[in-house]
Structures are given as structure tokens and as C-alpha cells.
């Protein structure tokens, strides 16, 4: 009855109705269909036969069981270490009044916006067989095998602890210092206050951060491909099964095994933990006055943060230095030759990536905002499901998406293999959740009565959207554009399955260069990529400054 009423109302708004249908078609075709194809393929060892043979083999052969265990082990260790470091970092910034907070926060976000394998590249440059540290400090023999478990732990921890940091900083900041002061005034010391008040309140955030990093580590493809050595993980094994051995069913099976834990982590994090949070967001801003700690506490926390920031600088600096050297480990003469090479021989890769990402980004942003608007502001059956599906690609590892696109669009009714379109589609639908999430969050912050006021004063709902809602959404929209662009530029795990000779990507080229031990060229290309990201960032800042209403207000004030 209720559904019937809703449907009846939607049919009265043909514009809205067609929009809903349009989005569902896209989501089914480019999100659900490819993933379903991976699932189906894993039950189909030979054409026309459906059974469990693939999974029987996967769980019985040591060749396949090892990567399963390896991936889980790596994920658990990386998530635990990252959360520990992220917590220290977040606590230092949110609760211990350390100096240079802005600086620490900025540096901690480097790994999020840079190409995923810059840190792996740096690890090789530093600790590989020709690494500067290996030679300078350890006399030529690596202190431990960088190609393998410990190498991956170091690299992934540096790459993913920022995620934990950002999640935890948000949680810790939202814990009002009133609560901590109340505990202190009731006679608990700071140590006890932390363990009895602050920590329990931040626990949902800790679990959330752990699950996020765990999923990221599970889904990581670039780092294990470069650094894995004989330590096989699921994403790389699946890739090798498909592109190397051409055993697509087994590759699909491995991808599904990768998908299950990440999906579980996603849903637990999103639909269970988010409800567990003790922190209720009220309209009243809670004042965060960092309790002024003792000097030595401040020093300890500052030093810990400095150590990690130094490590990040060391890694990025090494790659920067490497991009200007002739031959790493042998001849460190400075030269611009690598960049010249990058802009001549490899220019095609840079150009293609830029074109494809530039086409995908606005599409992704507009589609994301459209979905966000529908989900947050309109009533229609299946609204929650639409939101979940549009966010799904957050949870699905790139490897699974890549295999899905490879399987789904290599056959009728839609043959897209080898086209630019398939890469653009992957970009759009991989980064869709960013737009949806930013949009939904922004819309929930816009008091509904603001739109009602506009209606009340005589504007139609169409005019209200353009005059009131959209201007207020602009900052979120630009932010989504930026993130989508950066992530498309640096994407590798999904697109590597669909790149063709015609359209090639800079990230794929970097991987190739590392594979050929052309480390200097890989470093130079990485920095070209970083340069593009920085330009995009300034562009974003420019756009936000010139087109957001907040700046208009700030200008009016001065």
C-alpha cells in the first residue's frame, strides 16, 4: 500500500521517474553485471559446465591455498600496525597539543593522493639489492628480504596508515573534551581517563579504521606486484592466472575469495559500526580544547610523529632523487634525461591517461551528485538499495572489477574490449562512491527547511534545486571531482585488465618500467604523475575559491 502510493507519486513526476530508471540501468550494467560475471565464471571450469570444481581445487592445492593465507596474514598485520600508528598520530593532533599540527596532517595525506606504488618503488631504491641503504649501511647485503612479507608490511603500512589516521582523527576530535575534563574532575588521572573514557569512546572508530585498512591491504595490487617476490597474494595470483596462464575460471575463483572478506568488512563497517558510534552529532559544535599535557608527553608524541613524517619524506625524497639519476645504485650523476624520455617516448601514456581521466571525472561527479540527490532527498522504492549498490565499488577490490569488465564486455550484448570507453567506464564507476558519499553527506548537512523555505516563497522544486541546493552542494561536488580525477590518474588494479595497445595508461607504464628494472624512468614517471595531481589540486583550490559561496561570504566580511 505504502509502496503503491510512492510509485504513484513517482509516476506523476516523469522527469524523476526516468532519472531513477536511467541510473538503475547504469548501475546494473556497469556495477552488478560485471561482478556477477566473475561469480558465474568461477563456477564454470569449462564452457557449459557448472560445478564447484574450481573452489575444490583452490582449497586443496598448496599453490592456491598459500596466497589465500598470505593475503589474510598481510591484511591483519598491516591493519593492526596501521591502526596503532594512525591512532598515535591522530591522538597527537586531536588531543595532545603538539606543534606543527597542520604540517603533520598534510604530510600524512601524501600517500593518499600519490600513485599507489611510489612507496614500493622507494623501498626498492632504498633497501633493494642496489639500494642506497643496503649499500651504505649494510655493506651490500639487504638487512632483510624487501621482496616479500616484511617489505610489503612496511610499504602498505606507510601507504595505508593515513586512512586510519583520518578516520581516527575525526572520531577523536568529535569526543568532546568536556567528557575528559569531567573524568579528571572526578579524580581520575590522565592515564585512567584515556583508558576509561577516551579509548572506549573511540573504539568504534578503531574497528572502523582497522576494517578499512584491512580491505585496502587485501585489495592492494600495485605494491605486491612490485614487491611480492615469492610472497603471493590473491590479487596478484588472480591477475597472473588470467593474463599469464589464461585460466580464467581460477582467476575468477581467486577474485571471489578476495571479494568475500572485503565485502564483509565493508558492510560491517558501514551498516553496523556506524550505528555503534557513541558520538552523536548535534547541531551544537562541541568545543575541542586540547587538554594541555605535560611537556615531556608533548615531546614524546612530537618525536613519534616526526619519525613517521621523516620516513614519508625519506621515501618520497628517494624517488624524487632517483628520478634525476643516471643509473640507480651505480651512477648517481644528476640528469634531466629521465624526464626528457618521459615527455617524449612515454608522452603517449601521459596524454592518454590525462584524456581518459578528464573525460571520466565530470561524468563521475555529475552521476554521483545525481544519485546522492535522489538518495538523500527523494522517496522511492529501492532507495537504500540504490545507495548501497552505488557505494559497492568502494568495497569491491579493483582486481574483481577488472576481471568482471574483462568477462562482461568481451561478449554480446556489449563488446567494449579494446576501446577507450571501457577504461572510462571503469574510472566512472570505480570512483562513483566518492561523489555519492560527498553529495549525501553535504545534503544531510543542508537543513531540509532551507529547501522548503524556497518552495514556500514560490519557487518550483526545479528552480529550488538550481538556485538553492546546487550552490550549496558545490564544494562537495568539486571535492568529488578532484578525488575522482586523482584516483583515476593513479588507478591500476582494475584497468590493468582492460588496457589495450591503443589506449595505454601511465600507471601501467610505470609498472612495466619497474619490471624492466628501469627504476629511474619509473621514478620520473611517478613524479610526472605527482605533478599532475598537484596541478589538479591547485585547480581545485582555484575552483573552490572562485565558485563556492563560503568564499563569497569571506570576501564580503573583509
Amino acid at each position: 500500500m505504502y509502496w503503491f502510493k510512492q510509485i504513484k507519486r513517482i509516476l506523476n513526476e516523469p522527469m524523476l521517474f526516468s532519472m531513477i530508471i536511467f541510473i538503475w540501468v547504469l548501475l546494473i550494467l556497469f556495477v552488478l553485471y560485471p561482478i556477477t560475471m566473475v561469480g558465474l565464471k568461477s563456477f564454470q571450469p569449462k564452457t557449459g559446465i557448472y560445478n564447484f570444481d574450481v573452489y575444490k581445487t583452490l582449497f586443496s592445492k598448496k599453490y592456491f591455498v598459500t596466497p589465500i593465507i598470505n593475503t589474510l596474514k598481510l591484511g591483519i598485520v598491516v591493519a593492526s600496525v596501521s591502526v596503532l600508528i594512525g591512532y598515535l598520530f591522530a591522538y597527537s593532533i586531536a588531543k595532545v597539543n603538539i606543534p606543527m599540527k597542520g604540517f603533520f596532517r598534510t604530510v600524512a595525506t601524501f600517500p593518499i593522493i600519490s600513485p599507489p606504488f611510489v612507496i614500493a618503488l622507494a623501498a626498492i631504491l632504498l633497501l633493494g639489492r642496489n639500494g642506497v641503504l643496503t649499500k651504505g649501511l649494510f655493506g651490500g647485503t639487504p638487512p632483510f628480504e624487501i621482496y616479500g612479507f616484511w617489505g610489503l608490511v612496511i610499504v602498505e603500512t606507510l601507504a595505508y596508515f593515513p586512512t586510519a589516521f583520518m578516520t581516527l582523527e575525526a572520531i577523536l576530535t568529535s569526543i568532546s573534551s568536556d567528557l575528559e575534563e569531567a573524568s579528571l574532575s572526578l579524580g581520575s588521572n590522565k592515564w585512567r581517563t584515556f583508558w576509561r573514557v577516551t579509548f572506549p569512546l573511540s573504539l568504534p572508530g578503531v574497528l572502523s579504521a582497522w576494517l578499512l585498512v584491512f580491505s585496502q591491504s587485501m585489495a592492494d595490487f600495485g605494491n605486491p606486484l612490485i614487491l611480492g617476490g615469492r610472497y603471493h597474494v590473491l590479487s596478484v595470483s588472480a591477475y597472473l592466472e588470467i593474463t599469464g596462464s589464461y585460466r580464467i575460471s581460477y582467476g575468477s575463483g581467486l577474485a571471489i575469495l578476495l571479494l568475500i572478506p572485503t565485502l564483509i568488512a565493508f558492510f560491517v563497517q558501514r551498516y553496523w559500526l556506524s550505528k555503534k558510534s557513541y558520538v552523536t552529532v548535534t547541531g551544537k559544535p562541541s568545543v575541542v580544547r586540547a587538554l594541555e599535557p605535560k611537556m615531556y608527553v608533548k615531546v614524546i608524541f612530537t618525536v613519534v610523529c616526526l619519525v613517521f613524517v621523516t620516513a614519508i619524506f625519506l621515501f618520497y625524497g628517494t624517488v624524487l632523487f632517483g628520478s634525476f639519476t643516471k643509473l640507480w645504485g651505480v651512477d648517481h650523476t644528476l640528469t634531466l634525461a629521465n624526464y626528457k624520455f618521459a615527455f617524449t617516448y612515454n608522452w603517449e601514456f601521459i596524454k592518454d591517461t590525462l584524456i581518459l581521466a578528464s573525460i571520466a571525472t565530470p561524468l563521475c561527479g555529475i552521476l554521483g551528485i545525481m544519485i546522492a540527490y535522489l538518495v538523500a532527498r527523494k522517496q522511492f522504492p529501492g532507495r537504500r538499495i540504490m545507495e548501497a549498490v552505488s557505494l559497492l565499488t568502494f568495497a569491491v577490490p579493483g582486481t574483481v572489477v577488472g576481471i568482471g569488465y574483462l568477462l562482461a564486455f568481451n561478449q554480446k550484448p556489449l563488446i567494449l574490449t579494446g576501446t577507450a570507453l571501457i577504461i572510462i567506464l571503469i574510472f566512472v564507476f570505480r570512483e562513483l562512491p566518492v561523489g555519492v558519499q560527498n553529495g549525501v553527506a553535504a545534503l544531510y548537512q543542508i537543513d531540509r527547511s532551507i529547501e522548503e523555505a524556497s518552495l514556500d516563497l514560490g519557487s518550483s522544486s526545479n528552480k529550488t534545486f538550481w538556485k538553492v541546493t546546487l550552490p550549496l552542494l558545490m564544494p562537495a561536488f568539486f571535492n568529488a571531482l578532484f578525488t575522482a580525477f586523482v584516483r583515476s590518474m593513479t588507478a591500476i588494479s582494475a584497468v590493468i585488465f582492460v588496457v589495450s595497445g591503443k589506449w595505454n595508461l601511465i600507471t601501467v607504464r610505470i609498472l612495466g618500467a619497474v619490471g624492466n628494472s628501469d627504476l629511474a624512468q619509473a621514478a620520473a614517471l611517478s613524479y610526472v604523475l605527482i605533478g599532475i595531481v598537484l596541478v589538479a589540486m591547485f585547480l581545485l583550490r582555484f575552483l573552490t575559491i572562485n565558485f563556492s559561496y563560503q568564499t563569497k561570504i569571506r570576501r564580503a566580511m573583509s
Partner: protein, 364 residues
């Protein structure tokens, strides 16, 4: 009935409770009317359906059944942008990306007016609400009281037939609220605009309204001018909600047209004025409503009840007492306490109440 400018007929609004899935009647078959130029208040505790009623009149909710009429026209099917109403929101709902001028001009731009006309009207309205000179400010640069005035100006400038106000003063601090309350009343009666005002603050309702509707659980409990609601509450809920009240169980001895004799459990018989038209049966059990501000202290044997003082609070303009009697704790408020001698803590006292502050409601 036709002299009502805004009229609500048999209005029902059902919601589905998202947690249980059951149907909740937020507004349960209510009818009332507002005369042209009057200010009517919907008063009640939170969740009583007053805001839903207002939103139904504004067109933000679609009624399950029933009609809303404005100036004799059924407006059920008109969306908010087509209705001749303008709303002042509890959160003000100012457009954060527009300055004061643009906010106030927003509604006018939907009418085909020239920009000089718009400017004229906006400037005039801003001077009425006392905001001249702040045209270029943005909402985030204004104080709460100023934001409130912008919201009011924005609603008034489109010259709506009906002004709807949803707890407009609840976000202001006490001093400012009092000041805005008086100003609001002035502006409303000067412009002579028919208004419907939602609040949970009975003081606000009493000072502003020509007519008050007290609501509870989606039902109208009483509908009267402020003085009548206070003097003759029609049931125990209204008596307790409007002002303060002590209740004593009584039995009706006999009634004539204007008053009743009622007997308290201790045998004391009291004369109580009746509103014309209300009837009680002889022998019926009722509540005697005694307003604390009508009470005074007498010798123990002279009072209608006696007891000992358990609380004594001095607030400046008045003194507040709680007296423990055989029939429960009763409160008494003495105005201008410096002028009389007051009992001490634990002293046994008798209580007497002015006849003009007594009334009777049904036992429930």
C-alpha cells in the same frame, strides 16, 4: 463558519513509524478556524502534532484526509509554492549563500516585479524589522536575533495571506525572546496579517495570541482566548499545561447556573465559579483546580486545607512554597513577598485560595 479566513476540516495525518512499521496518527481528525487578521497559536508538548498541523497548512505534508481552506478555497492539492502562505522556520532556514538583501528578495523574484520595485519592498521591509544597513551581510555574520528578523522579513515581504510561524523564537536566549515576542506581536497586528503560530511555550502563547489551541496526541484539548483557557481550563491536562495548578479530589454537592458547591475530602465545602454552559452532576467526582498564585497563608484552622511547609524558595518578585497536606503536596506562590509575613520552614499553616483562581475539571 464562513467568517474564518483559514479553516481546517477533519484533518488527519498518518505516519508510518519506521522502527515498528505501525501507523501513527500525528494529527487525529482536528478542525478549527482562524479569523482574518487574528493570531492563532497551536500550543502543546513536543509530539502533540502542532508542527505537523502547521506543515499541512503550509503544504509541506500531504494530509491523509481532511481539508485545508484559505480564504474559502480548498488548497489541498496546491504545493507550497502555489499556496498564499509564508512560513518562518524554527531553524530560520536562511539561504547561507545569499546575503540579507538576496534572502529577502528571493520570494519577490518569483513574481514578475521590476528590480526597482523589489528593491523598494526589501528596503521597506528591512526597516520594519529593524535591519536597515545590514543588506550586504551574510546569515553567518548575523546574531541569532538578526537572523530571526531576516527570516520574518523574508516571509512578510511576499505579502502572504497567511503567515505561518514554527517555534520562531525557540533558538533565542531568554531576554531576546521576550523582546522579539513583543516586537513580533506589534508587527503582526500593525500589518493585520492572519497568522498561525506554533509553540510549546505557554507564556509565548498567552502573550501573543488572540486564540489558543491546546493540542495533545494529535487531538485538540481546548480552543479559547488566552484568558478563558487560564480561567476555565476544560480538562486536567490543560489546567496543568497552562500555568501551574494544584489538584484536589472533590465531590459536587449542588450546582446552579454560575457556580457549584464542592466538598473536599476533609469536609470543607467551597463555592467555585462555573463557565456558562458547563454542567456537573450532583455527587460527581471532580478535580478542584487551585492556582498557586491564588493561594495565601491563614491560621491552620481557617484554611481549606492545612499542612507544613517543606520548601521555601525566594525568587525576588515572588516567593514559592510547597506545603505537605493530607491530600498531597500543594504549591503556593506569593507575589510581592516583602509586603506580607511569611511562614518558616516546617511551620504548620492553613491555605486559602482566591475564588477567582479556582475552577473545576472532570475527574479522569
Amino acid at each position: 463558519m464562513t467568517d474564518y479566513y483559514v479553516q481546517v476540516r477533519d484533518l488527519v495525518k498518518e505516519f508510518r513509524d519506521p522502527s515498528t512499521g505501525s501507523i501513527v496518527k500525528a494529527v487525529n481528525n482536528i478542525s478549527f478556524g482562524v479569523k482574518n487578521g487574528q493570531l492563532m497559536t497551536l500550543l502543546g508538548p513536543s509530539g502533540c502534532g502542532k508542527t505537523t498541523t502547521l506543515r499541512l497548512i503550509g503544504g509541506f505534508e500531504i494530509a491523509t484526509s481532511g481539508d485545508v481552506l484559505i480564504d474559502g478555497v480548498v488548497v489541498n492539492d496546491q504545493p507550497p509554492n502555489k499556496r498564499p502562505t509564508a512560513m518562518v522556520f524554527q531553524s530560520y532556514a536562511l539561504f547561507p549563500h545569499m546575503n540579507v538583501f538576496e534572502n529577502v528578495a528571493y520570494g519577490l523574484k518569483n513574481r514578475k516585479l521590476s528590480s526597482t520595485e523589489i528593491k523598494e519592498k526589501v528596503v521597506q521591509m528591512l526597516s520594519i524589522v529593524g535591519l536597515s544597513g545590514l543588506e550586504k551581510r551574510y546569515p553567518s555574520q548575523l546574531s541569532g536575533g538578526q537572523q530571526q528578523r531576516v527570516a520574518l522579513a523574508r516571509a512578510l515581504v511576499v505579502e502572504p495571506k497567511v503567515l505561518l510561524l514554527d517555534e520562531p523564537l525557540s533558538n533565542l536566549d531568554a531576554k531576546l525572546r521576550e523582546q522579539m515576542r513583543i516586537e513580533l506581536k506589534k508587527i503582526q497586528s500593525n500589518l493585520g496579517i492572519t497568522s498561525i503560530y506554533v509553540t510549546h511555550d505557554q507564556l509565548e502563547a498567552m502573550t501573543l495570541s488572540d486564540m489558543v489551541i491546546v493540542m495533545k496526541d494529535g487531538i485538540i484539548m481546548q480552543q479559547d482566548p488566552p484568558q478563558m483557557i487560564y480561567r476555565y481550563p476544560s480538562n486536567k491536562f490543560v489546567a496543568g499545561f497552562i500555568g501551574k495548578a494544584n489538584f484536589l479530589e472533590c465531590v459536587v454537592l449542588n450546582c446552579d447556573r454560575e457556580s457549584c458547591k464542592v466538598k473536599i475530602a476533609n469536609g470543607v465545602v467551597i463555592d467555585v465559579d462555573m463557565r456558562s454552559g458547563t454542567q456537573f452532576q450532583t455527587g460527581e467526582k471532580v478535580y478542584l483546580v487551585l492556582r498557586p498564585e491564588g493561594g495565601r497563608f491563614v491560621r491552620p484552622q481557617d484554611g481549606i486545607v492545612q499542612g507544613n511547609v517543606i520548601t521555601k524558595v525566594y525568587t525576588g518578585a515572588s516567593a514559592f512554597f510547597e506545603i505537605k497536606t493530607d491530600y498531597g503536596v500543594m504549591s503556593v506562590e506569593i507575589q510581592n513577598p516583602a509586603s506580607v509575613s511569611l511562614p518558616e520552614y516546617n511551620e504548620v499553616v492553613g491555605l486559602h485560595f482566591d475564588r477567582s483562581t479556582l475552577s473545576v475539571v472532570k475527574y479522569e
